[in-house]
Symmetry: C2
Amino acid sequence: MTATQQFTATPIGMVHCRLKSKAEVPKNYSESSETGILEIYPAYLEGLKGLKAGQTIMVLFWLHQAQRDLLQVYPRVDRSRGLQGVFTTRSPMRPNPIAVSELKVLAVRGLELEVSGIDMIDGTPILDIKRSLSTGLERS
Amino acid sequence: MTATQQFTATPIGMVHCRLKSKAEVPKNYSESSETGILEIYPAYLEGLKGLKAGQTIMVLFWLHQAQRDLLQVYPRVDRSRGLQGVFTTRSPMRPNPIAVSELKVLAVRGLELEVSGIDMIDGTPILDIKRSLSTGLERS
């Protein structure tokens, strides 16, 4: 196993929301009251069994517009600290641009999950949904 | 954009720990007191700037041994519920086998991060490290 090994991730769905540009996007889910739809592709329907309105889910996104070759950024709150390693931040810019958000499920309609807490632009690919450990789904 | 779009993830490092088989691995990080080393590859050293002992980090792993074609599993605690969709669980088996753990940084030695909370087998590839939103790193 070497640093040049690669893995292939395939989207299980896509976000639909009113945020069309990065400038409009809340800096993270804990600051967002945006609602939107997680469209899950038909091949993955079975994986949603047991998902219900009222649960909190952890959602992984592939930030398809993020720059991947940046290793240091200015933290958004305190620029006086200077450049910080991306691995100490939640910056979307990182070698593997995977975002992790905790979203509240408002409604489940077949392959469409209505959620609140959206901090992604419309069209962002979804890689995974998990039980949240912090709140939400019962232990499984 | 279609369901057949794919993305390429490249490991930024690898876990080293005493857990050699899946049977030995704690079911998740909140139940683990295992310590281990996150070896970060030299190309990513700059991204660690600001990372310190005492911080809690969110670490994303690619579960290279996980089955990817399973969409329902028996939840480990309550089998009486029957098969549940993988997207309502933390099962390692899922279409994109990416795990998310919160680990405590015990020491930083150049490219080696000593951590506790390991719930991965030795040799598991690391995809990303982020500031934890639940605890740990100061806001950035």
